[in-house]
């Protein structure tokens, strides 16, 4: 399931990170969501371990080493994806991987680099354009635009997961913008995006357990 690109990344300048941010955005826009793929399970497991290794390298207290992870692959359709994601959507969920650990990871890296989205947004032209990723309203509030794909006819589980994964896109871009260069070798969000591109959809159940979901062929 694909969507028309919401903008052309090639029309935007992201300073010293222009090439890497454009590459990240283009890869995201070419994802065929929830499509079966022919890759071996090992590819999906390796990408998640690469993500974990990079996160662990930056924050070893919050992210265990990849060797300490219990990973498994599950195949299914949208009903199985919905069941897998149900705890993330429930009112009693006490932990949220993306809204918890991953957001803090991205925030802490940006702060360590002395970068802030507010300062970045102030450098963008007015009126805001979608590829700027965020803008500051006249009252000072920071608003994100992102690059959410409008998937016609998508079911509820797919919409939820794509919205959920969209945070990784913004954090991948934010990591590069904070670095100010095109070296993506330490970016923990890039392996997650590579996984989406190849049809692997991880869900972290707890800090040491994750399921890599893939569509049944």
């Amino acid at each position: 399931m694909m969507a028309p690109p919401p903008f052309d990344p090639g029309e935007y300048d992201y300073g010293g990170a222009t090439l890497s941010v454009r590459q990240i955005l283009r890869a995201w826009m070419e994802i065929d969501w929830l499509a079966p793929n022919a890759h071996d399970d090992a590819a999906g497991l390796d990408l998640f371990r690469a993500h974990q290794a990079r996160a662990h390298a930056f924050d070893p207290e919050r992210f265990v080493a990849p060797e300490a992870l219990a990973l498994r692959v599950e195949r299914g359709g949208t009903a199985e994806l919905a069941a897998l994601c149900a705890p993330l959507r429930g009112d009693d969920s006490r932990r949220d991987w993306k809204l918890g650990e991953l957001k803090r990871l991205s925030r802490d890296h940006a702060r360590a680099r002395g970068w802030s989205p507010e300062a970045y947004a102030q450098t963008r032209p007015w009126p805001p354009r979608p590829g700027d990723l965020c803008f500051v309203m006249p009252n000072g509030a920071l608003i994100w635009t992102g690059a959410y794909p409008k998937l016609a006819g998508a079911d509820d589980a797919t919409i939820f997961y794509v919205n959920y994964a969209h945070g990784d896109l913004l954090d991948a871009c934010q990591w590069q913008l904070a670095r100010g260069d095109d070296d993506t070798s330490t970016n923990p969000f890039v392996p997650l995006l590579d996984g989406y591109v190849r049809g692997f959809y991880p869900v972290s159940l707890d800090p040491t357990t994750a399921v890599i979901f893939r569509a049944r062929g």
Partner: protein, 89 residues
């Protein structure tokens, strides 16, 4: 229509900042933004779309946001066409 516990917490915190007053959209957005930051580390407020030419700002994950409507600032859910939920401020 059901609103998740997380969204409800954000909304209640934002409303508490406004102390129940009817305010303009800019103040409502500021309160929403602050409430999101207090609830979610590095939480983000998104431009979800528009209704009546006015921007809808809120959560990309749930699609719940606020818009400057005819009756004041309204809470809506974006799922295709925006669906009005209740008055926000």
């Amino acid at each position: 229509m059901r609103i998740s516990a997380r969204d409800r917490l954000v909304i209640e915190r934002a409303r508490a900042k406004l102390a129940g007053a009817r305010v303009d959209f800019a103040l409502a957005v500021r309160a929403l933004r602050e409430a999101v930051e207090e609830t979610i580390d590095d939480g983000r407020v998104f431009l979800l779309g528009s209704a009546g030419g006015e921007p809808i700002l809120g959560s990309l994950i749930s699609g719940v946001g606020i818009v400057d409507g005819a009756r004041g600032v309204e809470l809506v859910r974006v799922a295709g066409a925006p669906i009005a939920l209740e008055r926000f401020a």
